[in-house]
Symmetry: C2
Subunit: 149 residues, 2 copies
DNA sequence: TATTGTTATACTCTATAACTATA
DNA sequence: TATAGTTATAGAGTATAACAATA
């Protein structure tokens, strides 16, 4: 029972949908909102949640290349939000850790991010938000496991 | 009743989730797959589905800036997939239309896109795919209406 | 004076390869 | 020789402002 309101509804496709949402979101996640740019924010969140992580792990976890990781960590260190120190067991590795002030900045940014999400997802009920997040997480996880093959 | 499998499961947030999915997807949508780059493909799809659209409409519908629209249309015209012609009622405007060969190229690309999506969404059942698409469409629509305010 | 589209410019992001230091 | 990280470079994406034509 397809209700056709305005002609044959074209199927934009999941990928296009995601791309448009990404762009729409990017427009409203300025540095002024989070207190830092979005990618460093996302990276710092991962660092906090995965103590003792390495740059290599950041690459694969956040789908970034080595170069971007370096640049973002430079930025985070310049703001004194994170530090790199050599892994004593393998001196090629850097262990990345969040600082106390990084933790505070991240908590502030998290609050801003939450209110942004409330605004962005206002069309959805709490249960629907949970649903969409759960589904997207599963999609992402399947992409990780595929990448590992 | 939170099942804690591996410590306090951090909430990555909808925005981060979307960003990672976007990046993961971008890595596998090369030109060789669709026969054209992804953004022109997405744009051409909109042009087909909205006959008589203008560049200004493309901007707001696809969350692009005027500059990007010009560049993408240049690319599409070079490939003879679309044409711009002056609107006789307002000679400042360009009316953008898909060509016959653009339509054929788009149909081929659509097939490739569908098989890509099958692969990307393989973690989800058909009903779940419908659900996630429907929810994301609603989020996007609410962002449009907000942008209009 | 405002709008549509174009051009120019700069800045970010991404991808790649060359380099270093360690293993 | 292989790996972790860094640096350098080029390409694509995005944002901004100046501009021409038209309203």
């Amino acid at each position: 029972m397809d209700v056709k309101k305005d002609g044959p509804k074209p199927d934009p496709g999941f990928v296009s949908l995601l791309t448009q949402l990404y762009k729409a979101l990017n427009r409203r996640t300025g540095e002024d909102l989070l207190g830092m740019r979005f990618k460093p924010y996302m990276t710092l969140g991962y660092i906090r949640d995965h103590p003792g992580t390495t740059q290599h792990e950041l690459e694969s976890a956040l789908f970034m290349d080595a170069n971007s990781v370096v640049l973002i960590l430079n930025e985070l260190e310049a703001a004194q939000f994170s530090v790199r120190r050599r892994d004593p067991h393998d001196r090629r590795r850097h262990i990345v850790e969040i600082t106390a002030s990084g933790r505070r900045a991240l908590e502030r940014a998290d609050k801003a991010r939450e209110s942004l999400e409330d605004e962005v997802l206002r069309a959805l009920s709490p249960e629907e938000r949970k649903t969409v997040r759960g589904l997207l997480e599963r999609v992402l996880e399947s992409m990780y496991s595929e990448a590992r093959v």
